[in-house]
């Protein structure tokens, strides 16, 4: 879902950067408040893993592929969607500047879609589902919905940019990302969370003791 430079006119791309900037700053503030020396290796491992898994496109049929985004996974492990925004910002910076995966002018939009929208929607959906469901099912549901909503937001941005027609764009983006979200985001996030729950249950408990219930806070963006 990495938007290239040519998909959004420069003036609109700058607006998305302006909207993204406070979220990026907040994610840095989160680091100053929550990231201690012990957690840095976890953050770095997740960022590296997410960069690599984003190169692994999974075929979903219809001549289309997709990959995991990862913001929800990071948010669940750290117990905060700001951690997801931070990791996706770092990953998108390297992808944009070194690999032309996602534009530089459109990086603000990409950070908003993949870091902010998918991370916040996914994390708060997870928190809500977690009350009555097991961790792995809640992680699946959150990750799936997070990716799907971010694709819908992306389709609307493409319409505002004059690049996609509204209805056809929504249908195409929605259909593909419903499937990508199921396999690429939902299943993989759930598998990763299950593996971490087995090997490092303390990482997940931690996120609940430090952030008991923030799901009442509305999902913005």
């Amino acid at each position: 879902m990495h938007i290239p430079d040519s998909f959004i006119p420069l003036d609109q791309a700058i607006i998305y950067w302006v909207i993204a900037l406070p979220f990026i700053i907040m994610s840095m503030k989160w680091a100053k408040k929550e990231l201690d020396e012990m957690k840095i290796p976890i953050l770095a491992a997740l960022a590296a893993g997410i960069f690599a898994i984003q190169a692994m496109n999974i075929p979903i049929g219809m001549g289309t592929s997709g990959h995991m985004v990862g913001a929800v996974l990071v948010a669940i492990i750290f117990g905060s969607p700001w951690a997801g925004v931070l990791v996706l910002t770092l990953v998108l910076l390297v992808q944009g500047f070194a690999f032309a995966d996602g534009g530089i002018t459109t990086m603000g939009a990409n950070i908003l879609n993949m870091g902010v929208v998918s991370g916040f929607v996914g994390y708060y959906t997870y928190s809500f589902l977690r009350r009555n469901l097991s961790t792995n099912i809640a992680a699946f549901g959150g990750a799936w919905l997070g990716l799907f909503i971010s694709a819908i937001v992306c389709a609307i941005e493409m319409w505002l940019a004059g690049t996609f027609p509204l209805r056809a764009g929504l249908i195409a983006m929605g259909t593909y990302h419903l499937i990508i979200g199921f396999i690429g985001e939902g299943l993989l996030t759930s598998i990763a969370i299950t593996a971490i729950a087995k090997s490092r249950p303390d990482l997940l408990e931690d996120s609940f003791t430090t952030r008991p219930d923030k799901s009442k806070k509305e999902v913005h963006a």
Binding site: I40, A44, A98, F99, A100, A155, I180
Partner: protein, 101 residues
């Protein structure tokens, strides 16, 4: 959470990431992603070719996760270099921005 087990988590993460770097050039689907695929269906052909002709705003050294003339090996190297760069940048960021004890 102990520092030692977090370092184990880091090593496991690096191992998984580098394994993905080696496998992705061979296993990843070459099909366009959801956004590109949607574009090819909903954008008019003439406009689409205009968009494709537009060069990215900045020339990336390893565009499309490849290194010129190095084939699949170059792709493995590109993803591995990117993985290590993300690792280093996240670590550096963490050290600079971590909470002050």
């Amino acid at each position: 959470m102990s520092g030692n087990s977090n370092m184990k988590f880091l090593y496991a993460g690096i191992a998984i990431a580098l394994l993905l770097a080696v496998l992705a050039p061979f296993l990843a689907s070459p099909d366009p992603d959801g956004l590109e695929s949607a574009a090819s269906h909903v954008v008019e052909k003439s406009k689409l070719s205009d968009m494709e002709e537009n060069k990215p705003a900045v020339n990336a050294p390893m565009a499309d996760y490849s290194i010129k003339g190095l084939g699949k090996g170059g792709e493995v190297a590109a993803i591995a270099v990117g993985t290590l760069a993300v690792l280093a940048i996240s670590f550096g960021f963490g050290i600079i921005f971590k909470k002050k004890a």
